[in-house]
């Protein structure tokens, strides 16, 4: 799939945010100032200040000469970073992968996202309409991260059609390629004021004069070179960290860590009325490797002792090696705690459903979820299809269990062929050989014809007989299809009656 990237640039990121908090600032000129080399330098200006000609990297004293009423605030780099991260998380609604472009921009990998808003123009419009009340920004979409960045910072063009990034960038200054200052200075000294002026020079020649970076950045913008996209992690609201003072190597230590984390998480979930269905314990080792154990429950639970037991069964899988320095517990799935499970089972009052669910949790941790099954009736003719396995413990049968026809208590997974001696055409066999043993049939019931379901599959029907041999053992046999004098009939054994 063709990749598409969006770049968003917030030229007045922190200033805009201050205006959101203090409405009166919106129409005023102000700047963020940092102390740099014994000078107060402007780092960021508001939109109004920019109109007056003020720019970042200007000494505050110079700015005050042209505009004495300029307000100055202290610049806090952490605040800007935090704000950008928050915005990035907000943007997850538009694309699952969002990356930071420090210090004041964002990249979105929008491959396969824009069609949800019909087309790219409407997609950008939707984002713009949400953002324009609060932030000043420039947005652009292109095939590569580099091209999108260039367009958002240096062009009014918003959309570079697929494969058209070269044409879109030709008229932009070299700065649009995200080059370092020394290279930019050299380029301008040589009179390269637009990308067009050096875009067609052979890469080897450029490398000789400007080093590899120019070629790399060109390649990244044009799509010939890959560029890493470091998407931010989706925030997990139920996540707890436990930093260890000293690396932990013992099982006992891990147990204590799990207990502590569970206590914090369960306390919080309890207040919200939620319970854990799936949780993961990540143990970060000293050597940077990650050890992980996962648990799942059959019903939402905040029972610390029970959850701990589930983790305990898996502690053996953790290799502490040199030691674990950080534990992170994440709850991947929560569900509202249910109070009235008993009613679903229609059982007597002293049956504690939670206790059974906890037992099954423990078993499924060891044996896997597929090991535990209940069976409910299903409205199908063939015995194999007349029951369905369900994993959910609260499901009730939709229909009654059929009781009008005899059914065996043990059923073979696959009917097995038997040799029979049978009188023609519709009588039960006189004897049959199963697993090398001859059974002489004394009594029999049947036949009970069970048809294929013609609306799903076609094939031969089965004529079932319930037979009893001389020892009293009862079997369920069937003949496949109609009796045919030319072709010997096929007989099968399918079950054992009580």
């Amino acid at each position: 799939m063709k990749k598409r990237y969006v770049s968003i640039w917030f030229p007045h990121l922190v200033c805009d945010q201050m205006a959101i908090k203090q409405k009166e600032l919106k129409t005023q000129a102000y700047a963020l100032v940092a102390h740099e080399r014994n000078k107060q330098m402007i780092v960021n200006v508001s939109h109004e200040a920019k109109k007056l000609g003020l720019r970042p990297n200007m000494p505050l004293a110079d700015a005050r000469i042209t505009f004495p009423a300029l307000q100055a605030f202290k610049h806090q780099p952490q605040r800007q970073q935090k704000l950008l991260k928050k915005l990035a998380e907000w943007f997850i609604r538009y694309s699952p992968s969002v990356a930071l472009d420090e210090p004041d921009g964002l990249f979105l990998d929008v491959s396969g996202c824009t069609h949800l808003w019909k087309n790219e123009a409407l997609y950008l419009e939707e984002i713009s309409s949400r953002l324009e009340k609060e932030y000043h920004f420039h947005i652009a979409i292109a095939d590569t991260i580099g091209a999108a960045w260039a367009l958002s910072h240096f062009s009014t063009q918003q959309i570079a059609a697929s494969g058209q990034q070269m044409q879109a960038l030709l008229n932009l200054p070299p700065k649009a390629l995200r080059l370092q200052d020394p290279i930019l200075q050299r380029l301008s000294k040589l009179g390269f004021h637009h990308i067009a002026s050096f875009a067609h020079i052979a890469p080897t020649t450029l490398r000789r004069r400007f080093g590899n970076e120019l070629n790399l950045r060109m390649g990244q913008a044009m799509g010939q070179q890959q560029e890493a996209f470091n998407a931010i992690e989706e925030p997990n609201p139920y996540r707890e960290r436990l930093q260890c003072l000293e690396p932990i190597q013992t099982a006992k230590g891990i147990e204590i860590a799990i207990e502590n984390l569970l206590e914090i998480i369960c306390e919080r979930l309890k207040q919200e009325g939620l319970g854990i269905r799936n949780a993961t314990l990540n143990a970060y080792r000293l050597d940077g490797k990650l050890q992980q154990i996962k648990i799942g429950t059959n019903q939402p639970s905040i029972h610390i002792k029970h959850l701990f037991k589930l983790f305990e069964l898996k502690i053996k899988q953790i290799e502490p090696d040199l030691g674990i320095e950080l534990f992170v517990m994440e709850v991947l799935k929560v569900e509202p705690l249910t109070q009235h499970q008993e009613a679903l089972w229609h059982t007597n009052t002293h049956t504690n459903f939670t206790e059974i669910a906890e037992l099954l949790d423990r078993i499924s941790i060891k044996a896997g979820k597929n090991a535990i099954r209940r069976y409910l009736p299903q409205e199908h003719h063939w015995p194999e299809n007349s029951i369905k396995a369900v994993a959910d413990l609260t499901l009730q049968p939709q229909t009654d269990w059929p009781v009008h026809k005899p059914r065996p208590t043990v059923l073979l997974n696959q009917p097995e062929t038997i040799k029979v001696t049978a009188p023609i055409p519709d009588y039960p066999p006189m004897n049959f050989t199963y697993k090398g043993q001859i059974h002489r049939i004394i009594k029999a019931d049947g036949p009970e014809r069970i048809e294929q379901e013609w609306w799903t599959n076609d094939g031969k029907h089965r004529d079932y007989y319930c037979v009893e041999d001389e020892k009293g053992q009862r079997y369920w046999l069937f003949r496949l299809g109609h009796y045919d004098s030319k072709v010997p009939a096929q007989w099968f054994i399918h079950g054992f009656f009580a």
Binding site: I363, P383, R407, V410
Partner: protein, 244 residues
């Protein structure tokens, strides 16, 4: 008169010994007399022991078919209301629609399929610890004395009734179970020459009973009830209706 007094003393002493051995006769158990006297009379205090482990020998699928039916018949008599049961075994064999005839709604049975014998025993012990279950049935290849004792100690605490189905006849050793049963199909009796197979008959062998006596009788299941045909009974068709 003197003899009667002696008999009473012996009875009292026997009961004391039973109590010491862990066969407590609490009032609840007295009430839960299931009502099949011909079976119950072979057990201590004439009560079918619940809260212990019963062992069944079931080697062929024919045996499993009637053993499972017998167990579920017993359980449906023991528990008036619907309980929840766990079946632990190697693979799915039981056909739940067939169990409807024996008084247990099949969707109340939770099947646990495990592969390793060790895992089956572990799961059985865990299940027996769970007081909310009405019965635990476990298919094992073999069980030794120590393992069975461990299960017995578990149920003494939790009062859950456990049923062990031993599938490998060559590994039969002494166990700490309350009783050892063997259920085999038996030719059904057809009195009035009605065509068809009729109701099934099972030969129920009580091979070992702790503090009780062994026995051998024929049992039939019809209309949600057990009917017992004592083998040494001279009247072969006398079916004594028991229960209710």
């Amino acid at each position: 008169m003197e003899k009667l007094a002696q008999k009473l003393i012996i009875q009292r002493l026997q009961r004391q010994i039973l109590d010491l051995e862990g066969f407590k006769t609490n009032s609840k158990q007295q009430n839960s007399k299931i009502g099949f006297a011909p079976i119950e009379q072979h057990f201590p205090n004439q009560v079918f022991p619940t809260g212990t482990i019963h062992e069944f020998i079931s080697t062929a699928p024919e045996n499993t078919a009637c053993t499972s039916a017998f167990i579920f018949g017993l359980l449906s008599k023991l528990q008036q209301q619907n309980g929840i049961y766990v079946w632990i075994g190697k693979q799915k064999q039981l056909f739940t629609p067939g169990l409807t005839f024996f008084g247990i709604p099949p969707h109340h049975i939770i099947f646990i399929n495990l592969v390793k014998p060790k895992d089956i025993l572990w799961a059985t012990e865990e299940a027996l610890k769970c007081k909310s279950l009405s019965g635990v049935i476990s298919e094992v290849e073999g069980i030794n004395f120590a393992q069975s004792q461990r299960l017995q100690l578990t149920v003494e605490k939790s009062k859950v009734t456990g049923f062990i189905l031993r599938t490998q006849p060559e590994n039969i050793t002494a166990t700490a179970c309350a009783a050892r049963w063997k259920i085999t199909p038996q030719a059904s009796e057809n009195t009035e020459n009605i065509p068809g197979v009729g109701f099934a008959n099972w030969q129920v062998e009580l091979l070992k009973v702790r503090n009780g006596s062994t026995a051998n009788f024929t049992v039939a299941w019809r209309n949600q009830q057990f009917y017992v045909n004592e083998q040494n009974n001279s009247a072969p068709f006398l079916s004594q209706a028991i229960g209710s």
